[in-house]
Subunit: 217 residues, 2 copies
DNA sequence: GTCTATACAGGGATAGAC
DNA sequence: GTCTATCCCTGTATAGAC
């Protein structure tokens, strides 16, 4: 098993709610970053609807009107956050699942890294997961497209493993179950939980290998 | 393995968003039922904050002011919904985990029934899970108390199983992982999904037995 | 216990100066 | 690109008649 790091994302490098933020907003011009950051924090603390555009602007140190220079609406801010966050999640899954090693090694690495990601970035992930229904149908489609990409990567890995000895009754069912283990971490994890995110990742990875009837190594 | 039904709840008996509703509102006087029902539907479709008290009242066929005859606030309605829904979830877990059979049989039954429950009632469960932070601290405490009860039941079952042959590295970690499998069903399940709720329950139960290193039977 | 009417606050978004 | 000021709508909750 390689001890490869999660690629380009420095998981665990920082400790605040703003982690995902710091990562996701890199692609944005400086002007939008402050608003982007402020919105993630505010949405994570109070939820999308309970957060006013005035809240976001105030956190960013701007006037209420400044938000509309950079984004056409509050929903557009949520959309950008969702696409950026899920895009990085997909990058984590892709790097681990297409890396070196046997299918069992890659499954271990993928579940470990995805779980760790969802713990470290639990606050921003919850924003995305809880507010899918607040996006316009088009914007929601962008998000579900990325979710389907992640599903297909995991399913491909399990099918490949099945040819190499995994014992899987229903590939689709097992794919969903393994991803549940990873994603649900964002629901229950809090920073004061006894196990560190990396440890939870390893525990989940070991359980996933059992679920597919594989052995690590 | 017994083919015992989920007790008193008729899981799978109906198909609409209002399932949980029909169950949870039985204990309420008739006057409150219509509002309770309307609120669950509205919260499930649009979310707590996006739903106005006017929406709820209109769905219930009442004037905007009528809601306040039965509930002191919109938050109180959410609180009642959450406590009722989680209370029934706990009843499902308790019946299955304290039933007859070996620890492996009871674990299978508990994961099966909890998963089926979360699929059938996914809409109302999502309301509870997504809006914990919208409750007052006291009301949120009521909800987390019940969640802890369910956690303790599952943990007790796993510890009992460990004395009877389960292979569990970290009981707390495995408890959370098994419950993730059950609860996360409410996040991804939709009524048009290919597997029926009962089938998902059996699939998850089989995977849970693998996670604890047990054999069914 | 239900209604109509309304008080009162707050939010999304825009206008127009600088 | 940021500000101040503001439009207009919606929301929670209450008052008081029936």
């Amino acid at each position: 098993m390689s001890d490869r790091e999660i690629p380009s994302a420095e998981v665990g490098a920082s400790t605040t709610t703003m982690d995902a933020l710091e990562l996701t907003c890199r692609r944005f011009p400086e002007g939008q970053r402050r608003i982007f950051r402020a919105a993630i924090d505010a949405f994570a603390e109070r939820g999308f609807h309970a957060t006013s555009t005035r809240d976001i602007a105030a956190r960013a140190g701007l006037s209420p009107a400044a938000l509309y220079v950079h984004f056409p609406s509050k929903e557009a801010v949520l959309h950008q956050i969702s696409v950026a966050s899920l895009g990085l999640t997909r990058d984590v899954a892709k790097a681990a699942s297409t890396g070196p090693g046997s299918p069992a090694e890659r499954l271990f690495a993928t579940v470990r890294d995805l779980t760790t990601w969802h713990a470290v970035h639990s606050a921003s992930v919850r924003v995305v997961l809880h507010h899918l229904t607040d996006l316009t149908p088009e914007h929601r489609g962008d998000v579900t497209d990325i979710q389907r990409e992640i599903y297909r990567m995991m399913r491909g890995l399990l099918v490949e493993g099945a040819e190499a000895g995994f014992d899987i009754a229903d590939p689709g069912a097992t794919t969903i179950a393994v991803l549940s283990l990873c994603v649900d971490t964002a629901r229950w994890y809090t920073p004061d939980y006894r196990r560190a995110p990396e440890r939870i990742g390893e525990d989940h990875a070991a359980l996933a290998l059992r679920m597919v009837g594989a052995h690590r190594g």
